[in-house]
Symmetry: C2
Subunit: 120 residues, 2 copies
């Protein structure tokens, strides 16, 4: 399940110009939910239902997203021996390499919202 874009050797310029690195990142963390979920999990581990409710994401999609993120080494899935079985999702250390991205996007979202609202 390794995803990296083809890059012709010696064609560095074209590759970098076409935003190869950006596309690699988007392959792992693109889409509507992954960055949002990671952002939420930064406050601490959460259970499936909890994530589903707070993000308002359907179980089907949530399940799929979490599996993909697990495969990419971004989250761990832990089954707990509780009365009704619960499952905890938590970020891995590797996911912390994404913090710059998350923080930058969070900051931008906040300032952009201000910009939009202030000029009503």
């Amino acid at each position: 399940m390794v995803k990296v874009h083809k890059c012709i050797v010696g064609d560095e310029s074209a590759c970098s110009k076409a935003g190869l690195a950006i596309r690699d990142t988007l392959d792992v963390v693109g889409g509507k939910w992954k960055l949002v979920l990671i952002s939420m999990l930064r406050d601490g581990k959460m259970r499936f239902r909890e994530l589903s409710r707070q993000a308002e994401i359907s179980p089907r999609i949530l399940s799929k997203e979490l599996q993909e993120m697990e495969m990419n080494g971004l989250v761990t899935r832990t089954v707990c021996n509780t009365k009704p079985v619960t499952v905890e999702y938590a970020l891995t250390p590797y996911s912390e390499t994404l913090s710059e991205v998350i923080i930058a996007m969070h900051k931008w979202g906040v300032q952009h919202r201000k910009r939009i609202i202030e000029r009503v």
Copy 2:
């Protein structure tokens, strides 16, 4: 065409937990192409065909993406009085507020690719 997510007043916690700011950012700059195009335009203005060829993006999609980015104040479109009419697309000053995001994603893409390749 203003896009910001609803946020119930006084419900700050739930909103921030659900990654509201991240979603706002993704609304403007999410999808397969916008960040790639901005990243390319950071090296200087480009014409329509140039962008289309280098990014390997079809004219239809490119046109749509550029229009959306123009509406969001991220790029400018300038028609030039040349032999066959050419059109230049360039980043706006506002788009520079995205540079942290772009740089972070670029860096992550590069390091992630390394990580993937080194453990073949």
